[in-house]
Homo-oligomer: 223 residues x 2
DNA sequence: AGACTTTATATTGGATACAATCTTTAATCA
DNA sequence: TGATTAAAGATTGTATCCAATATAAAGTCT
């Protein structure tokens, strides 16, 4: 296994580097569900000792990205279908309210930024970049609300979902549809209609959930 | 400084014991905002080394309960007025939706439990027990929704607010009013009216927020 | 005296070493 | 052979030691 350090700036401690890199690897799906995180192995990969690795894993556990059992180590935390459903509902709830708060505070600059993110997403061809660009677009909208705790909750939820979204994207019209729905949300923001933006965001998230659950269902039926 | 271990069961690692104890101490307000968490000192108090302490602090930081700066250590994370407002809004949003989901799934047993928690809260005389009993009551209602992620988010928000609520309680009619509002919420649940329960919960949380902000404002004006 | 430099101390970040526990393999017995 | 037990190896949990950095105190120069 070969991890690459996310940021090698000297202002970051080894713990932070390991944490960021592992988090990224999990979000990106480079580590499958249930994959064990061996401390020694990771320490070697980062050319450090086990201490920073342990602290990084402790943090990941708080985020719900890994599960650890005493003397058995940590594994990437899988998600049940019920949890999947639940987390999407939370997203829809919190993100729609976040955008409702954000719209009245949006400036010309923040709208320009958001449209730029939207275009980056629409033009993206590489599936592995999709979740990140999607997140950037949504957060560029929510950012105007100046609500760090909303963002923290939202990012925590996305962290746990991202790696499941990539697979689905390649097999459906997800990308095209997402772009269309993003455009609608963005234009609602530009016209200052907070309630419409909130409603569209809610439907967008619920739509993605339905699409993913449907995909998982058909895949299970085939097996 | 003298911490007491929350749970000394041998199935818990030192890291977990330190984590639980520190978290409890912060929530309970035994450690003031900005109070430094010296690793050596804590390690001595728990009769252990600094390693488990460091891991515990790393976890607390993920939860937003402490802030650490390289080579300067961790301090209990204070909260700005804006954040206070924001976190209460999040609570109102998520808790009202949690109870909306929970009501249709409540059983006779879960309602009995909730009423018991309600009575424990109503009868409580010691202010230091209030936040915990309040949380138990609310969570006994949300529990029926079988939504662990909702609960996790809610508990994370409460963790950051609890220590600020105690002070306010002693100086207002907060306790009496909370009991009255809890009774209304509970009876909405008992009659199976999810929308009313949700609406009452939303107003309850927003009411507490207004009361606390008002208290803080008058206190600041006096100074 | 006051400002700057230097040294000493305190504190955190990390590495190595050891102990506790789990897992796997080998050995033993029916 | 198959099951059971015992030993070896792997892996995590913790303690101790050293390094890096920050803070505080003492010293020096003008």
């Amino acid at each position: 296994m070969n991890f690459r350090a996310v940021d090698v700036a000297q202002t970051k401690s080894a713990t932070e580097i390991v944490f960021d890199s592992l988090r990224q690897a999990i979000i990106m799906g480079e580590l499958e569900d249930g994959a064990p995180l061996r401390q020694e192995e990771i320490a070697k990969a980062f050319n450090t000792s086990r201490i920073p690795v342990r602290e990084a894993i402790a943090r990941l556990e708080q985020l719900g990205l890994v599960e650890t059992r005493r003397y058995k180590g940590a594994v990437v935390a899988a998600i049940t279908n019920d949890e999947f459903d639940e987390i999407f509902d939370l997203r829809a709830l919190v993100e729609s309210d976040a955008i409702r708060r954000a719209v009245p505070m949006m400036t010309r600059a923040s709208l320009v930024l958001a449209r730029s993110c939207h275009e980056d997403f629409a033009k993206a061809t590489a599936p592995e970049a999709w979740p990140d660009l999607n997140r950037k677009f949504h957060c560029s909208l929510y950012g105007a609300a100046q609500a760090p705790n909303y963002l923290k909750v939202i990012n925590g939820l996305l962290d746990r979902l991202d790696r499941y979204l990539r697979v689905q994207l390649c097999l459906t019209d997800g990308m095209e549809r997402a772009t269309r729905e993003h455009e609608a949300i963005l234009s609602a923001c530009e016209s200052g209609d907070a309630e419409r933006a909130a409603s569209l965001t809610y439907d967008h998230v619920q739509g993605v959930k339905a699409s993913v659950l449907d995909y998982l269902k058909t895949k299970r039926d085939q097996a």
